[in-house]
């Protein structure tokens, strides 16, 4: 790292960083409006679907007596999984002092906040009587993993928001001080309030570093529990396919796969859309690709455990379940997920070419889709094979297929997550400016200079 000596050079450099990194905020064009328009249209359709569901009841979904957890719960597990990336990149890698991960940490937090917020909303949307939501807190059983899950999701959301907000404060002060002429008044006002009157004195930096460190340490157990507890929702039953002790780490490993893929996609979009080639460098994609290979390998290891051991024993219930996955109704989905979503990315990403921004973005997209389908085949096939015989019921009770209302609401959740990420990108820089500037050798004293 070459320290920049001259004040003029420092100021110029800082100015360039600020211009580049606030492009997402200042940029206003037709594409932005169109993007918002598309998102909001889909959200309106989803809300409309939800209103139908509330009015008519959960009968409008494909869920019946046997498959009582459908696409919503699969989607919930997916979002919880994606949110875990916030913990991996902005805490675990930061604590390990892996410096290339620093510029990515805010993207990771954006993805984490959007995903965990949506996970909460999806659960409410899965309820037949969402007006009774508060009963979960009023009459919850402390011995129930559902209560643990509600607790840990709220805790994780709060920590993620704080972890997003704390390093943002100096950035907010920078924008408040330097960009008053470039931005609308309400934004400056918002920054002024959120900046908490930041002056940039050493004591304040000390508080930020101190608090960040505490949160990074705190988010490790909370992050691990969020997905472990989600896995316990399944693993604490006797159902074939869920009744296994490795489900906790299996879920956590799968979560890192989904989250890493999601972050790579968002990074790529920012890089292209906001011309941040010099910030999300090829090097970052290369490292993220290596990270993806690593987490995929861990996940593959758990997958082998998850299927080989029960497959060897072929207990009656497990046997039915495994046959359904391997050669039965779900075989196409299952092999797509395992081969295209897990094995193929591992092989491809070993080559440097595929770790270049565009190829890795495409691969990540496939991995993300496969991750979603993976949750689907974790949740639904098991429910289709209860231990008690299924008798004298209509045919649509035996096999689950999502209805259009369910698909509408599920699309709503994706679009809402994208909207949250977009709004965060439109309000706040996508990379921590002051940290980045400091990394480039610009002294902190230039940050608090007023133009």
């Amino acid at each position: 790292m070459n320290k920049i000596e001259s004040p003029a050079e420092s100021r110029k450099m800082l100015d360039k960083i600020m211009t580049d990194l606030t492009r997402s905020i200042t940029k206003k064009d037709e594409l932005t409006r169109f993007w918002f328009f598309i998102l909001i249209m889909f959200i309106i359709v989803g809300v409309w679907g939800w209103i139908i569901q509330i009015k008519t009841g959960l009968g409008v979904t494909g869920m019946r007596d046997y498959v009582s957890w459908g696409m919503y719960i699969a989607n919930f597990v997916f979002f919880v999984a994606v949110s875990l990336i916030g913990f991996l990149i902005s805490s675990a890698l930061a604590l390990l002092k892996i410096s290339w991960a620093k510029p990515i940490s805010r993207v990771a937090e954006q993805v984490a906040i959007a995903a965990v917020a949506l996970a909460g909303i999806i659960i409410v949307m899965d309820m037949g009587r969402p007006d009774r939501f508060l009963n979960v807190f009023l009459h919850g059983r402390f011995a129930s993993p559902i209560i643990w899950d509600v607790t840990v999701v709220t805790t994780y959301l709060t920590i993620s928001v704080l972890l997003f907000y704390l390093p943002l404060i100096p950035d907010l002060a920078l924008m408040r001080d330097h960009m008053a002429d470039k931005l609308p008044k309400w934004k400056i006002k918002l920054y002024t309030i959120l900046a908490l009157g930041w002056k940039g004195n050493p004591e304040q930096y000390k508080i930020i570093y101190h608090s960040m460190r505490i949160l990074m340490l705190l988010i490790i157990p909370v992050g691990l529990s969020i997905h472990t507890v989600t896995s316990w929702l399944f693993a604490s039953t006797l159902r074939s396919g869920w009744d296994t002790t490795i489900l906790g780490p299996y879920f956590v490993a799968g979560a890192f796969v989904a989250g890493t893929a999601a972050v790579i996609i968002v990074m790529f979009v920012y890089r292209v859309r906001y011309r941040l080639k010099d910030y999300f460098e090829d090097l970052h994609f290369d490292y993220m690709g290596k990270l993806l290979v690593f987490v995929c390998l861990v996940y593959l290891y758990f997958n082998i455990n998850e299927y080989l051991v029960p497959g060897y024993k072929m207990k009656l219930g497990e046997g039915i379940h495994l046959r359904e996955l391997f050669v039965g109704n779900y075989s196409v989905m299952f092999w797509f997920v395992q081969l295209t979503g897990l094995v193929l990315p591992i092989v491809l990403l070993l080559f440097r070419y595929f770790r270049k921004p565009f190829p890795i973005m495409v691969i990540s997209f496939v991995v993300l889709v496969a991750s979603w389908l993976k949750r689907y085949i974790i949740v639904i096939p098991t429910l289709e094979h209860p231990f008690l015989p299924v008798q004298n019921v209509p045919d649509h009770f035996k096999h689950y297929s999502p209805t259009s209302t369910e698909i509408m609401i599920t699309i709503f959740s994706f679009v809402s997550a994208m909207l949250i990420i977009t709004i965060l990108a439109k309000l706040f820089p996508v990379i921590t400016m002051w940290e980045y500037a400091e990394e480039k050798g610009i002294d902190k004293k230039y940050f608090s200079e007023k133009p």
């Binding site: 059983r141 402390f142 011995a143 129930s144 643990w148 607790t151 805790t155 709060t158 920590i159 704080l162 704390l166 404060i169 908490l196 009157g197 930041w198 002056k199 004195n201 004591e203 304040q204 508080i207 930020i208 101190h210 608090s211 505490i214 949160l215 705190l218 157990p221 909370v222 604490s236």
Partner: protein, 297 residues
């Protein structure tokens, strides 16, 4: 159904061939046995109940002549053929039966058979009928529970020509409302002042907390709203077996494993205390920026 009744008829024809042509002769000494039970409303009513249970299936509804087509045919109890029997004759025939008519001597007690006789007498032109198909009277029923003494206090009125007046000597049925209908606890008659007090039996079982929903009703000769006394604490506590073993992890909040609850509270509490501490740091940032600005000025 038709086929079935035809079959029954055919069988009955064979069974009764021997007797069909003859009249039913009752020994003379039995013929004039006097009815030991008085002919009054209570006995007639009880007789009606017994008739509905044991006799109606063949003898049909009184006066409607809808008897079962057997050979020899059963007789409608209001018919002349029935009513020309003496009380002793009817009693004998119920007791011993003949052909398709079963003998009830072993299944219905002497007194109850006499009550059935009393009911049949109700339709005898020589008797003053006890049961009259008069139009139902409008009535009002008030009831309250005395939980200390476990008594239900009832007051009944009926609509006379000049407004409601108290209803004496009316039968009130007290029941407990259960999940699948009402179960009768007992009956009580109103006194001259239209009032009645019903003592709830000690053996009555309520819900887990001893609550019973008591239903107070007049008989069908009155049109009156049924009084339901919800949640009267007059019953014994229902003993509910605890279905969850005490040792299991998953459980209700009452049965929760104490270490689990403590762990939950401690872990959640620690996490939120830490979050609270960090949130407090935000105030410190704010405070710190204020102190510096005051130093400058």
């Amino acid at each position: 159904m038709k086929l079935k009744s035809l079959k029954i008829t055919a069988i009955m024809i064979f069974l009764s061939l021997a007797v069909s042509a003859q009249d039913w002769i009752v020994p003379d000494d039995q013929k004039n046995v006097a009815n030991p039970l008085p002919y009054n409303l209570e006995n007639v009513k009880k007789g009606k109940e017994l008739f509905l249970k044991n006799c109606k299936s063949c003898h049909g509804d009184p006066g409607k002549n809808n008897v079962l087509p057997l050979v020899p045919p059963p007789v409608d109890i209001t018919s002349e053929k029935m009513q020309k029997n003496t009380e002793g004759e009817i009693f004998y025939k119920i007791t011993h039966g003949r052909g398709a008519m079963p003998q009830f001597g072993a299944t219905i007690s002497d007194d109850d058979r006499w009550r059935i006789v009393n009911y049949i007498q109700n339709f005898n032109p020589a008797r003053q009928p006890m049961l009259v198909n008069a139009p139902a009277t409008k009535a009002k029923l008030l009831a309250s529970v005395n939980e200390q003494e476990k008594k239900v206090e009832i007051f009944a009125e009926y609509l006379a020509a000049d407004g409601y007046i108290k209803l004496p000597n009316a039968e009130i049925t007290i029941s407990a409302k259960k999940n699948f209908g009402n179960i009768e606890i007992g009956k009580v008659r109103t006194g001259e002042n239209g009032r009645a007090i019903f003592t709830i039996p000690e053996t009555l079982i309520g819900d887990e907390e001893g609550y019973v929903n008591i239903v107070v009703a007049l008989d069908e000769t009155f049109i009156a709203d049924v009084v339901t006394l919800d949640k009267a604490k007059v019953g014994q506590l229902k003993q509910v077996q605890k279905l969850i073993r005490p040792g299991v992890l998953w459980s209700t909040n009452e049965n929760i494993q104490i270490w689990l609850l403590i762990s939950y509270i401690c872990v959640t509490g620690a996490a939120w205390l830490t979050i609270g501490y960090v949130a407090f740091q935000l105030f410190r940032i704010k405070k710190s920026s204020k102190t510096e600005s005051s130093n400058i000025s």
